[in-house]
């Protein structure tokens, strides 16, 4: 709460200036254009829970050479968390607000020595009606040429970031600050074919003509220097009086489709304290994880009925939680 008041105190003169000079509307327009908010509303015991994800960013346009790109992105402000109307019933009780700055490395794996289809021919193929192409056999000359021109090629995107994270309970009573670095990529860019193997059991549960491109899991690996541990429940739960620690983080996200429209989603987060003190190990607080599995069925372009199972612990307090919620998932622009 003190940090929020401090931020508001610093921002207040700026906000007053913005109001007077007419830039307030520009700021509102900017935020509206570059932000996204996603909320899952669910029942938690007999209270309302909200899982939210918010991001405000402005990505610079990459250079013209779109085949091998290395560029820096702009600052991004993100916030995500698990909150509830009644805090006592919110066992996860975690919010993370993050200021990130990073970059991207993008590479297309294409063999320049191969004689492919010329750009002129690819442009000509765009004049053909896709309905006619798809009605013909997938071994037809035009379909194979279309696939060669516009099919998915092996690419690799490595996204890196440096960040400052403020991790807090929903009432901000317990909190810490993490400074760190991280890298995101999808598994198939390192292990081609992994997605197909992972998705194989689920492919039996859907029409192969409806959805046949398996999803590759997305992975984030990071390191954090976490400070302010005295403002968390760490001392009370472990007896350790350290005020900071080093921590490694892994996150994995993946989904697949079964039946006609039922989506299964999986999100896994793990936090390892590096070289933990003995009392932290004894209290089993050196390794914490969260598994979230959800099933959703779309009810409209912006909403879906969801059942979500969440089990594990999140910073700053890593309180153990196990909850199943039923509700709606809504996306806002």
């Amino acid at each position: 709460m003190r940090i929020i008041l401090l931020i508001l105190l610093v921002l207040a003169p700026g906000l007053l200036w913005a109001e007077e000079t007419g830039t307030k509307q520009n700021i509102i327009n900017y935020v509206g254009k570059h932000s996204t908010l996603h909320v899952d509303a669910k029942t938690l015991e007999d209270t309302l829970g909200l899982d939210y994800k918010f991001a405000l960013s402005n990505i610079t346009s990459p250079p013209d050479d779109a085949k091998n790109v290395k560029y820096l992105s702009d600052l991004e402000l993100k916030s995500s968390g698990y909150v509830a109307a009644e805090r006592a019933k919110n066992h996860l009780d975690s919010t993370t607000t993050s200021l990130q700055f990073g970059g991207k490395y993008f590479k297309v794996y294409e063999n320049d020595s191969e004689v492919g289809i010329s750009p002129d021919r690819c442009r000509q193929l765009l004049d053909l009606n896709p309905k006619d192409i798809q009605a013909a056999a997938t071994t037809s000359k035009e379909y194979l040429e279309i696939k060669e021109c516009f099919g998915q090629k092996r690419t690799r995107l490595i996204s890196w970031d440096s960040h400052v994270n403020y991790e807090a309970t929903q009432d901000f009573k317990d909190h810490d600050t993490a400074l760190g670095l991280g890298v995101s990529l999808d598994v198939d860019s390192l292990i081609p074919g992994f997605a197909a193997v992972l998705d194989y059991p689920f492919s039996w549960l859907r029409d192969p003509r409806a959805w046949s491109v398996p999803e590759s899991p997305r992975v984030y690996v990071g390191y954090d220097y976490v400070a302010g541990l005295k403002d968390t429940n760490r001392a009370a739960t472990t007896g350790n009086q350290d005020s900071n620690m080093n921590r490694a983080t892994v996150q994995v996200a993946w989904h697949t489709l079964v039946l006609d429209k039922l989506t299964i989603r999986l999100l896994y987060q793990a936090y390892w304290e590096l070289n933990p003190p003995q009392e932290v190990k004894a209290a089993n607080r050196d390794f914490n994880k969260l598994l979230e599995v959800s099933y959703s069925y779309p009810t409209g372009p912006k909403s879906a009925f969801i059942v979500k199972y969440t089990r594990g612990e999140l910073p700053p307090d890593f309180k153990k939680a196990s909850e199943t919620g039923i509700g709606w998932s809504v996306a806002f622009e």
Binding site: I59, T96, C122, N129, S184, L257, E292
Partner: protein, 104 residues
Amino acid sequence: MAKLNELQVKNLVYWFYVFHGKFPPGTTYDNFEKLTMGNLQVDDPPLPSDPDYEKNKLSLELQWQFDKLGYKIPSPLDEMKKKTGTLLEFYTWCYQKHEERPTK
């Protein structure tokens, strides 16, 4: 070399999402324009520390597709992040924004 016409851009966007497997079941060439970005299962679920990873990748891959044909286009990432933006609006944006790439 002239710019692509609107039908060609429409078809390019259609094939792009078909081969990436991002259309929901039941999507056809006749109805894909009405789909919104929210209907496409991209960054689903979002990685907490990188919620737009997949959108970034698709954005770069689409730019590369245009580049292969001899065109450049600004990053379509912001358009891909509009959950209620339709595919019709998206390929119209691509048509309006693409231009011939200067000869290398």
